[in-house]
Symmetry: C2
Subunit: 342 residues, 2 copies
């Protein structure tokens, strides 16, 4: 058996391989720190209690191809993705570290643009960059550059997604599938900009975190739906909490150009990565207030797209009420839609 | 200008590229957290004050080639290297995260062996593994697998190497150049084991950290001399503190087989990576006691190899008194000896 692209797509196959390689080998007591959370819950980040503080730690490798795309580049994506993972845990970033692996022969000017984008975001968000590494692999042993980033943050109250519960509303902060559609188009040799596509990749720190902190006692889960898109995020939530998540197709905000592109290539936008929106599970009384605040703060497409229900029959399942009024099951991601999406 | 292997060798060229790509772009105030240390001092890890605790964070990418070698493999190296970086900061590991990037088509069995080695070390040292990532790159875009590891530790008193001062003795805990010689032989197509070579890669947590904590107020600098070997570590110390470091060639412990191999291929063992020894700068009264304790604890080759001096003429320089009684300057690493050494 060998590694396939599906193993890297962030869906069922990824979990299967992770389980074989890592999860099955680590004793339960070593999957988290005392009073913390870690690979026992597989959230956006781990939580480590230090004194009376909750330190959130997140670590991701960024391999996106192409490394420059409309709306951003590898550096912007790596910084934004890390910040968004911290925010998704309810944490305010306090420091970042980055490790670059570069291919011998790559133009330094190219790498320089990538690190400038990375640092632009980090500096603009006022986050100290405190460490990292730089390695070079000989020509032909790596495609140009990959970046791995560690993010540290402090959460007043960490948002651990297993808190999601029946009765919660599902809120999305903006249009979905923007990043995934853009990278997919580029990998198919299409001029993404001509199709009106551009990545939504951006840090969701301001103004989102202020609002989240205000309602943190009412927010039960939060995640940036990257690999595997909204479908994968909701499936993981449903699976991990044994709930049914019902979403309404006509409420999911998708930009016209993205929808058109998805129809053209025959792909479901629910599975395409977002890099600039957040999915939030929040109690039903707070949901409309939260949406209103998000909209006032500039996230004008923020909206309630569904709800969490108890269900014996559809335990762990995501169901979508289609525009025509039918119901369809939104399966977890099984194959690989786009390699090197993030 | 394009990236060369020398940019990844850990010497002057690495610092030059890091400065261009990262260090020159980050404002001084964002190179560390308040009351902490970071890329302002470029130590083995960064220090972040959280409440009344010193959190040490280290992050490194491991790209060693071949991924299996006498004495270890990529997984063991990645776990050991991270633990050793924490120990070098005077920190007790509290958690680790790992991010794997794997090439499509790689045998899962191979990756599985690597992650088993990694987890063996982590579990044996009782360190929680709390997060990470898994990405796949298409066939031909990466050579098999690279691992990036983040280590978190708590230090009672962080050992920041800029504390090194004239009067200090330089102690090494064991034989040098073992890992570097082994990987170099393998990359030259030689049967390393036939030459009696094997990597010294191992975690230096027990019993070293207990001893270090006992003498921490007398220890001013500590580093595991990996890329660029002992020569590079000492040169960085001398450069960063404006001191002269004098070492005695006949006191540096090198195993016969390693010395013979180095003579055969014409390479200076001072520049070859160690993955299982520590260099320690300690005040002169404590040095003999420290060495004795290290020896009693099983590090039988631990010894004083030199000292730190004030010098106008040789500020920032490492000088070696040769066996024949002459003096030679030990230059910082300029080129690249062995790619993908760690």
């Amino acid at each position: 058996m060998s590694v396939t692209l599906a193993h890297g797509a962030g869906g069922e196959k990824t979990l299967e391989l992770l389980t074989k390689l890592i999860l099955s080998k680590v004793p339960e007591t070593l999957k988290r720190t005392p009073e913390g959370s870690g690979i026992d819950v597989l959230d956006d980040g781990a939580c480590v209690k230090i004194g009376d503080k909750y330190l959130i730690v997140t670590m991701d490798s960024y391999t996106v191809n192409p490394i420059f795309f409309p709306g951003g580049d590898l550096g912007k994506l790596a910084a934004s993705g890390t910040i968004n993972d911290l925010v998704a845990m309810g944490a305010r970033p306090i420091a970042m570290l980055d490790s670059l692996i570069v291919e011998e022969g790559t133009e330094i000017e190219i790498i320089d643009k990538i690190t400038s984008s990375f640092i632009d975001i980090v500096v603009r968000e006022n986050i100290p960059l405190i460490g990292g590494d730089l390695k070079v692999m000989p020509r032909g042993q790596l495609d140009k550059i990959v970046i791995t980033v560690t993010g540290l943050g402090i959460a007043k109250r960490p948002i651990i997604d297993r808190d999601l519960r029946p009765g919660d509303k599902i809120v999305i902060t903006g249009n979905i599938a923007e990043h995934g559609a853009t990278i997919m188009a580029l990998q198919q040799g299409l001029d993404a900009e001509r199709y009106g596509l551009h990545s939504d990749c951006r840090p969701l720190l301001r103004p989102l975190l202020d609002i989240v902190e205000k309602y943190v006692n009412h927010i039960h889960a939060m995640r940036d739906p990257t690999r595997g898109g909204l479908a994968q995020t909701l499936n993981e939530w449903a699976r991990d909490t044994g709930t049914l998540i019902l979403i309404y197709e006509d409420r999911i905000p998708i930009r016209f150009e993205v929808r058109k592109f998805c129809e053209m290539v025959g792909v479901d936008p629910l599975y395409l990565a977002c890099e600039g929106v957040m999915t939030i599970a929040v109690d039903s009384e707070t949901a409309p207030v939260l949406v209103e605040e998000l909209q006032s703060a500039g996230m004008e497409n923020a909206t309630i797209i569904g709800e969490v229900r108890e269900s014996e029959k559809f335990r762990g399942t995501v169901v979508c009420r289609t525009v025509s009024g039918g119901l369809r099951i939104v399966e977890p991601l099984r194959g690989s839609l786009v390699p090197r999406i993030c």
